[in-house]
Each structure stands twice: as C-alpha cells, then as structure tokens.
C-alpha cells in the first residue's frame, strides 16, 4: 500500500509518502490511523487527534470507516484550504 501525507500531517510524520504493508487486522482508515499513531514519534504527534484529520482512498475523499486493502492508495491530510 502507498500512503501519502500532506501539509502539517506530512511535516509531523516527517515524510511525504511511504510504501506500507497493511497488517491483517487493519481493515479501515480509522484502524490504519490508529496503527500509525501507535508507531510513536512523528506519527504519534500527527495522528494524536483524528477529528482534525481527513483521508482519501484512491484519490477520493472518504470517511474514517472506509474499508481499505493492500492495493489502495491512501492519503492523510488536514481539511483542504485551496481556492
């Protein structure tokens, strides 16, 4: 699985993207975010408050309960501020 990070999520995690092997028990976005948070360091800081984090799966906005699998492209970021 490919994971992208943007804006301050990227800054806190410390990388803009990574290849990631999805653990078997991680089946949706919320579980993935909590798993990443448990890795500690920058991840722990970036995912400390899931209420301020948005996610996309395969380049579509999704909710926290969106199911994911190994071949998906996932991204985490704060609410968008373009325009």
């Amino acid at each position: 699985m490919k994971i992208f990070y943007f804006s301050w999520v990227r800054e806190k995690v410390g990388i803009s993207n990574e290849d990631f092997s999805l653990p078997q028990h991680v089946t949706n976005i919320e579980q993935l975010a909590k798993f990443l948070q448990s890795k500690g360091g920058g991840y722990s800081d970036a995912f400390a408050d899931l209420s301020v984090i948005k996610a996309a799966v395969n380049r579509e906005h999704v909710k926290l309960d969106c199911a994911i699998s190994e071949n998906d492209e996932v991204a985490f970021f704060p609410p968008v501020t373009g325009g």
Binding site: F4, R59, V80, G82
Partner: protein, 155 residues
C-alpha cells in the same frame, strides 16, 4: 477544461477562450482569486500552495462534470496554481460560458465553492516571523452545504 500548474496564466486570454468562435454564448462569468497581503492583522510575505497531484486533477474534473450536469453550459474552466506565490499573484480562475447569465453565475459560484472544500490544496502563509498552515473556514463549509441543500430541493 482544468489546468493545475505552477506557472502564472493570462487571465484575459483564458476567459476569452470560453466564448471564442462560439456565438451561442450570451454570458461568461469568471472568478479570479488572488493572494492578499494582509490576513487579519498579519502581513503576508508569501504563500506556499501544496497539492496532491493526481487527486487534484480528478477532483477538479468531477466538479466540472457536476456543473455540466446541473446547468446547461457551453464551456467551463478551472485553473489552479501551486508552489510559491506572493501578494497580488493569481491563485485560481474559475470561468463558465453559457447562453444565459443565471446558469453562468450559478455554475461559477458552485465550482469555486466546491473547489474550496474538496480540492486537495493546502496553503502555508509566511509572515516575517513564521509560517503557518491556513485553517479551513466554516464559512467555506457553509457555502458548500448550500449546494447540497439546493440539490435536495431539486429532487
């Protein structure tokens, strides 16, 4: 048409292209967004725009397609820049041509409202002291919801 680019664009040329050679066009509505130098009482030195390549293009194309589903339009255009911008620079252009002005206005506002809450862009504002990620505005979320309500009413 959508364009996601770092370089600047020629506003007059781009808007004119929406009606060029098409005499069915009665009105063109265009919105141009620019970098402001003051936000609250902070003096902005520059603005850095990050985006999610691939998702940005997908998202803007969907917004454009939805506008064409909702209104009878001739052409639509969204240009959004990324990278380092300074006060006075153009950030975004949304423009719509149509036979009638109501459709042009509505669709143009719909597209910029949706873009503001859906397109994956993030602004980092730099002052002389520091750099801060811009926070999403409730106002923009409300502008977006207005169109969801309209959709329900239509049904």
């Amino acid at each position: 048409m959508i364009k996601v680019q770092q370089k600047d664009f020629d506003y007059g040329f781009e808007v004119s292209a929406l009606s060029k050679g098409n005499h069915s066009v009665g009105g063109v509505c265009a919105f141009r967004g620019l970098v402001r130098d003051m936000v609250g009482n902070k003096q902005i030195n520059n603005l850095s725009l990050e985006h999610y390549p691939g998702m940005t293009e997908k998202c803007l194309s969907e917004i454009e397609a939805e506008a064409h589903r909702r209104w009878l339009l001739e052409k639509t255009l969204i240009i959004h820049r990324y990278g380092l911008l300074k006060p006075g620079d153009q950030i975004v252009l949304v423009a719509v041509s149509s036979a009638h002005r109501d459709a042009a206005f509505e669709a143009c506002r719909f597209m910029i409202d949706y873009l503001k809450t859906e397109a994956p862009f993030w602004k980092l504002e730099s002052t002389a002291e520091n750099s801060q990620w811009v926070e999403a505005k409730d106002k923009d979320k409300q502008a977006h919801s207005r169109w969801l309500n309209n959709l329900k009413k239509d049904k």
